[in-house]
Amino acid sequence: MNHCPAGPTSLTVGEIPVNRHFDPITRHELALYCGASGDHNPIHVDIDFARSSGFPDVFAHGMFIMARLGVALNEVFPPSSVREFGVRFTAITQVGAGITCQGRVTAIEIVDGEQRARLEMTARDQDGDIKLKGEAVVAFDPQGEQE
């Protein structure tokens, strides 16, 4: 365990090791994400298209918010430790939303000889409305060392 170079070496159910706030989402960021991600659906960047599709305005790519949830996760758990990461997109994220990303430990288990934590992952806006909700499974002894 003492050779775990990054990430927590102990976790307890109920704690919230992942907790990060991001500045309000801008239209400019949505344009950049459109190009950077390859998701060229105009509904996220072209207000005329969004309106013709029945929406009052453009809105964030769900995957942009999930990417930020991933940034928050990787701030605590190194990329090599992430075994699973999944979300449901429960509501549309509007331009201007200030997103808070959190991960709360719901279980500690041993799978394939390694210690893993299950985290309930959420992304909420400034009003506390949940935009993304899901789960990440992380190994917190990524080297798989035996005691």
Partner: protein, 163 residues
């Protein structure tokens, strides 16, 4: 009921496997993505930090697999063409990744997409399309399994939509 909203019976598409798609993990394009999402972790930016952490090269962040498939295979997702769905009707419902081996800068990845399930919700107002995507690399490694669910908004039946 589905003839107005899809060009074919959606259930006939369940199990359909699309031709495999390739994607290359290109470093400058990855850097643009990292800057866009605000990812500053050294392991994603510095080859030496990545190697010290045990990677062959700089790894990709967890959601980037989803992007790579689109980046190297431009145009609307193939499933929309198959079912005759306009892109303005879709929303993203769910996205799940199970990671088996890291994907790194320089990798050529192969994505194999299968339509896993199609179901209606809210009395047919919405149709959920779940696709299972297997990702392999050029080192004979199974990199990841992805499940991506899109939500199609169907026109109201009362509107008598013809498109």
């Amino acid at each position: 009921m589905t003839s107005e909203t899809f060009s074919i019976d959606p259930q006939s598409a369940v199990g359909h496997v699309f031709p495999s798609q390739r994607a290359f993990v290109e470093p400058r394009r990855l850097k643009f993505f990292l800057e866009t999402i605000g990812e500053t972790n050294p392991v994603y930016h510095d080859t030496r930090a990545a190697r010290e952490a045990g990677y062959r090269d700089i790894p990709i962040p967890p959601t980037y697999l989803f992007c790579l498939q689109s980046l190297d295979n431009p145009g609307p997702p193939a499933v929309l063409e198959l079912l005759g769905v306009d892109i303005g009707r879709i929303l993203h419902g769910e996205q799940k990744f199970a990671f088996h081996h890291p994907a790194c800068v320089g990798d050529e990845l192969v994505f194999t997409t299968r339509i896993r399930d199609i179901s209606n919700k809210k009395g047919g107002a919405l149709t959920m399309i779940a696709q299972a995507i297997r990702v392999d690399n050029g080192h004979d490694q199974h990199v990841a399994d992805i499940v991506s669910t899109i939500v199609v908004r169907n026109p109201p039946h009362t509107a008598g939509a013809t498109q």
